[in-house]
Amino acid sequence: MGYLVAAYLMFWGVTFLYLLSLLRRQRALEERLARMQARLDPAHREGDDGSE
């Protein structure tokens, strides 16, 4: 019975950890995108002010 429990804990544990890693990578990408937008926004405002 111990091997059976270990196997199903492994199935669910690995699936959960992999899902968690995917969600973390997705969040990291969203943060990178937000940083890029923040970097681009002032540049756009300068462009709108007629600085070009």
């Binding site: 019975m1 091997y3 059976l4 196997a7 199903y8 992999y18 995917l22 990578r25 681009l40």
Partner: protein, 229 residues
């Protein structure tokens, strides 16, 4: 999240829960091996969806070589990563089953050896990808590699059917008299196995979709950052 994605993920969670319940409550206790035989259901589900993932990587690679569209390379990359996770689970579960049934965690039997070769070949795919800087060269190299690498999948499948092996064959006849842990599928066992295979296939599709979207977003962001520099 869109409605169809919610339905898709909800159905996956429900089917995975149902498959787990079927494994423990619906499938009968196998006479010789006892409860440890129940590992078989998810072992088959993970192994099947792992090999399906490598088939998706093959299709993606062939389509990349034909069209040169980066989306196919991104799909192949995502499929290989998800496939490796699934195949790792199948190998670990097989080892947990083997300890009480074969009296060993591992043996260099043809099926186990060919599965390990498949695992190493696809792990190398991910490692080698990371070593190539140019995106176009990387995608082309990865597509050729994944196309050739797929040959390990039918070899692994056939190894237990054509060679002398102790690995049991539950679907179809086994040619090996040495097979240990062989058992006949009762109708309830067959239902549970089918449910597990469907549930893992659905879970694979969700993981693949999530990983593919991350890959697409990451490459688009990298291209934007490179253009901005």
């Amino acid at each position: 999240m869109r409605t169809w994605e919610r339905i898709w993920i909800g159905a996956t969670i429900a089917l995975m829960a149902l498959a787990t319940l079927a494994v423990f409550l619906y499938a009968p206790r196998e006479a010789k091996m006892g409860d440890v035989q129940r590992i078989f259901y998810f072992h088959v589900g993970t192994a099947w969806s792992g090999f399906l993932a490598f088939a998706v990587a093959l299709v993606g690679s062939v389509l990349y070589l034909r069209t040169r569209s980066p989306r196919w390379d991104q799909l192949s990359h995502a499929a290989v990563e998800v496939g490796l996770v699934l195949l790792t689970m199948a190998i670990v579960a097989g080892s947990l089953w083997a300890r009480p049934v074969w009296n060993t965690w591992w043996t260099w039997d043809p099926r186990l050896t060919t599965t390990t070769i498949t695992w190493v070949v696809y792990l190398a795919y991910l490692l080698l990808r990371g070593a190539v800087e140019n995106p176009e060269v990387r995608a082309r190299f990865a597509a050729v590699y994944a196309t050739v690498a797929f040959v390990t999948v039918p070899i692994t499948y056939l190894s237990a059917r054509l060679l002398r092996t102790i690995h049991p064959i539950v679907l179809g006849p086994s040619v090996s008299a040495e097979a240990q842990g062989q058992f006949g599928l009762t109708p309830r066992m067959a239902h549970t196995m089918a449910l597990s295979v469907v549930a893992w296939t659905l879970l694979f599709s969700v993981l693949l979709w999530m990983r593919y979207r991350i890959q697409r977003a990451q490459e688009a962001l990298e291209a934007m950052e490179a253009a901005g520099e």
